[in-house]
């Protein structure tokens, strides 16, 4: 067993709140990746937060293993990314097999001028351990052994009942954020639905530890040829010489029999020897069988209760969108909650819900498509699927159609006007795209609202409705031209604290920037504000 997930990191301890009813500004339920990310972001902006978790340690087993660039950029802003990228595995060679045949291989080439890699492979427990350490360092209170067993939402606060080894106690919060995972007890206690599609399939995961010299490549089989391997199989490298192996077993299986280590070893042996001709020595570190769903809550905000992460939406694991998208929820919510706590209008939080519901739909669409490709539902979709794989062996055009999961990329929030008609990837709504700047990287320069000035005059800072946008100058490099200018010769971009682009213009236009800032902080109807 691995020591990381056996060590209590936030053991239960009695707290004075258990004697005297306390009200906190923000209480977060769930110390998973999402709750901890949000807590750190709030704490760094001066908001004292309490995180309640029924457990006292990181999650068992590797769970999420693939963390995408946007996630790493968010974690870097919070001071957590460096140890993760140092530990994580970066791979760039993938092979796709169809039955006995290798259909094609690919090499992912990193684009220049990004501080963070396109993604890293890393066991979820390492991410959680790093988040716990950072949360403690910035003053977040994580109360382990605190299980929420009751919740009542009032107009001006939320009342909780929290069970502990010393018995239950009441606790109040101005705002409650439910990051309590896919089974979200808070969702159930509030009687809220979690609708969607259940896929009739079982996946066997085996984390295998091999000291042997084995290539750092991602291998994916459609219709794997090994004995009893199921409909697809995946081999993927993690740190510490651990390999994630996935077998898609189908619906009617005997779970106990499939988890028999002897049976698992037969499959793993066949897989590992298929390309190298020999079975290296290995240990089974962690095995599990899971089914999956694609579903989401209809609304992520219910008065003073906000839902984030798996509690709000669940996707199939193909495309690694669970933890990645949950961390983006936290990124979207934190700055808005800070503004509301500072006296802003609470309908700003409705934009959190609307934007992240939109993102959840996009993530569900991508993972549903990948799942449909992996498990064709009709004989005709099977015929097309197999035709794509056949053609992919000799014709490049078919390869983009092969879908074993698309890497998680941030969604582009809809509905924002574009005053520049510049490159599509940086249109309003998109997350900013990193580029190298004189002192390092663009993402390191961004704090709060920012104006990116490219070959254009702008004041040092612009103050509007209580928030300040600072100017950040971008140098005229080829990458800046490609990513931010297109055919334009100059531009100014307005970025929110979560680094999403609010608007862009060919020159500094004070009225337009002020209006965009007001819209971004939900103060559109300023005239009726006191």
């Amino acid at each position: 067993m691995n020591a990381v997930f056996d060590t209590p990191l936030y053991p239960y301890a009695w707290h004075a709140d258990q004697d005297t009813l306390a009200r906190h500004r923000v209480v977060i339920v769930g110390a998973g990746p999402v709750g901890l990310t949000l807590a750190i972001d709030l704490a760094l902006q001066g908001v004292a937060v309490v995180v309640l978790d029924d457990n006292d340690r990181v999650s068992t087993g590797s769970r999420a293993i693939c963390f995408a660039k946007r996630t790493l950029e968010i974690l870097d802003r919070l001071g957590v990314a460096a140890p993760l990228t140092a530990k994580g595995v970066q791979w760039n060679k993938g092979r796709v097999f169809f039955g006995e045949r290798e259909v094609y291989d690919f090499t992912l080439l990193a684009e220049d001028g990004h501080k963070q890699p396109a993604f890293i492979n890393l066991q979820q427990y390492y991410l959680e351990a790093a988040l716990v350490a950072r949360a403690h360092a910035v003053g977040v209170q994580i109360r382990g052994g605190n299980r929420v067993i009751g919740v009542v939402s009032h107009d001006d606060h939320v009342a909780l009942t929290v069970d502990t080894p010393d018995g239950p106690y009441p606790l109040e919060a101005d705002w409650l954020v439910a990051c309590d995972g896919a089974r979200s007890p808070l969702r159930d206690m509030l009687g809220l639905a979690f609708e969607g599609r259940v896929f009739e399939d079982n996946f066997l995961i085996a984390d295998v530890k091999m000291a042997a010299d084995f290539p750092t490549e991602r291998w994916f089989w459609f219709a794997p040829p090994f004995e009893g391997a199921g409909r697809s199989a995946l081999l993927h490298k993690q740190p510490d010489d651990v390999w994630r192996i996935d077998f898609q077993l189908g619906w009617d299986i005997d779970r106990t029999a499939e988890l028999d280590p002897v049976r698992i070893r037969t499959r793993v042996d066949a897989m590992l020897s298929s390309q190298t001709g020999a079975v290296p020595a290995y240990d089974l570190e962690w095995t599990s069988i899971y089914t999956f769903q694609c579903r989401r809550m209809e609304k992520f905000r219910h008065g003073r209760v906000l839902f984030a992460g798996d509690a709000a939406h669940q996707v199939s694991p193909f495309g690694a969108r669970g933890a990645n998208s949950g961390i983006q929820d936290a990124d979207n919510l934190a700055w808005k909650l800070v503004l509301v706590l500072d006296g802003g209008r609470d309908d700003l939080l409705d934009t959190y819900a609307a934007e992240r519901e939109f993102a959840a739909d996009e993530n569900i669409l991508h993972s549903t498509r990948a799942t449909d490709f992996l498990t064709p539902k009709t004989s005709m979709s099977q015929i097309f699927r197999d035709a794509v794989l056949d053609l992919a062996a000799s014709h490049a055009f078919a390869r983009p159609l092969v879908n074993s999961g698309r890497l998680s990329v941030p969604c582009i929030y809809p509905g924002l006007a574009d005053g520049l008609a510049g490159p599509g990837l940086t249109r309003p709504g998109a997350a900013c795209v990193d580029v190298a700047v004189d002192q390092g990287f663009l993402v390191e320069q961004l704090h709060g609202f920012c104006m990116l000035a490219i070959n254009c005059d702008a004041p040092e800072a612009l103050r509007e409705a209580g928030v300040v946008a600072r100017r950040v100058d971008l140098p005229m490099t080829d990458a800046v031209r490609a990513r931010y200018l297109g055919d334009a010769s100059a531009a100014i971009y307005l970025l929110r604290p979560d680094q999403h682009i609010v608007g862009r213009w060919p020159a500094y236009d004070e009225d337009a920037l002020r209006a965009a800032m007001r819209a971004a902080i939900g103060k559109n109807e300023d005239a009726i504000e006191p």
């Binding site: 991508h366 498509r369 449909d372 490709f373 009709t378 004989s379 005709m380 979709s381 097309f384 794509v388 053609l391 000799s394 014709h395 490049a396 055009f397 390869r399 983009p400 159609l401 879908n403 698309r406």
Partner: protein, 60 residues
């Protein structure tokens, strides 16, 4: 114009979705018939007999 076997479809996943959606709810025989009609329509769009012959060879 030679036969293009390089990627040429914008949003390949969306295209694939549309293709499968066109078959939704059809029996296998109905799906076969749809495919035949689709091939004929696309061949007419291409028009160029050399390109169609090259495509027939690539598919075989």
């Amino acid at each position: 114009m030679p036969l293009n076997l390089d990627p040429n479809i914008v949003d390949p996943d969306g295209f694939y979705d549309d293709l499968l959606a066109a078959h939704m709810g059809l029996s296998h025989a109905e799906s076969d018939a749809l495919n035949a009609r689709l091939i004929l329509i696309l061949c007419n769009q291409i028009g160029d007999r050399d390109v169609i012959r090259a495509a027939l060879r690539a598919a075989r």
